[in-house]
Amino acid sequence: MNRIARLTLFAVSMLVLTAATIVVATHMPTFGSHPLPYGDAVNSLVPPARHISNMVSAVNFDVRGLDTLGEEFMLVCAVTGTVVLLRGTRGEQLTSRPAGMHGRLNAPRSDAQVLTGRLLGPLILLFGLYVVVHATVTPGGGFQGGVIIGSGLLLLYLCEEYRTWRWFMRSRWLNACEGGGALVFVLAGLAPMCQGAHFLQNVMPLGEFRDLLSGGLMQIVNAGVACAVLGGFALVFLEFLEETREPRDEA
């Protein structure tokens, strides 16, 4: 299809879409003042039933836990696909001491850069852990915290250099983190069934309201999600950085 035909088709479909949007938008329930039956049910039932104050985590890890399990596997699939595509023929072999790349300087980092990285790194890691463990109390959880820790690892590449990054990032550990997180989630779902309860039924002690350890089974599910997200993001970063190097450049 040539460019003009495609733009004409796009313009016609946009006209239809605009008309449809105006009709739908004017018939939507009033913004901000319509009933929210499911949200209200969660907001009123979950704090006494599960002793936790973060309703978003409650929905993710308990009320809709089975859905989140599906999303967890989507995450694992997407990361696996990315890793397989980027590894290509290189395979799983990764030397821990990569040689320099031909024609590309392995620029040494300046002292200021290294210092900033070493000051910021532990703080970002600590903040990520803080967000992970506060899943049931304040805005936090495995998804957000895992992304913070995973991205924080990139500081190693930015502020140290490629060799240190590769020395530190062992793909085997990351694989275990990624797959193990999903496995923990599944086992947390299956374990209650050994007691005769339902899949993912919250059979653990629920703890005190607004306590760090409240929520029972949600804590385990949350830890599994954090591991899987952290491992997945770090693996993706590792493979993308690896992509700039050809197999023959590795000593």
């Binding site: 993710n60 989507m74 997407a78 990315t82």
Partner: protein, 114 residues
């Protein structure tokens, strides 16, 4: 008008994202446009669950029972963002392989696979 604004913003994001995809001459740009289209769903979901004069659905300073917005859609958006980021990584990996094989990232320079 303010009642219409959220839906129009979402429709606008969908529209410009689709326009970018249709006219794109570079796969990296196309993946960015796809993410713009996806962010329309975030706007829709968050606005569907919004309620005037209500707090966040996290009862930390305020006690349970005070008016709060819908946590169900917020949980959907949360997982949506994480999955969206990894799917974008998958698409970027496809773009890297494409550039290796064909030496171009222009969708119009490529013929369908047989």
């Amino acid at each position: 008008m303010i009642a219409l604004l959220p839906w129009l913003v979402a429709a606008w994001l969908l529209g410009i994202g689709l326009y970018g995809i249709v006219t794109s001459r570079n796969y990296i740009h196309l993946i960015g446009c796809l993410n713009v289209v996806q962010s329309a769903t975030y706007v829709i979901l968050l606005c569907v669950g919004y309620r005037w004069n209500a707090g966040p659905p996290i009862f930390d300073p305020h006690p349970p029972g005070t008016p709060a917005v819908d946590p169900v859609v917020q949980a959907l958006v949360l997982t949506d963002i994480v999955i969206g980021a990894t799917v974008a990584a998958l698409l970027l990996a496809l773009a890297v392989q494409l550039h290796k094989r064909k030496g171009t990232l222009d969708p119009e320079a490529l013929r369908p696979m047989r």
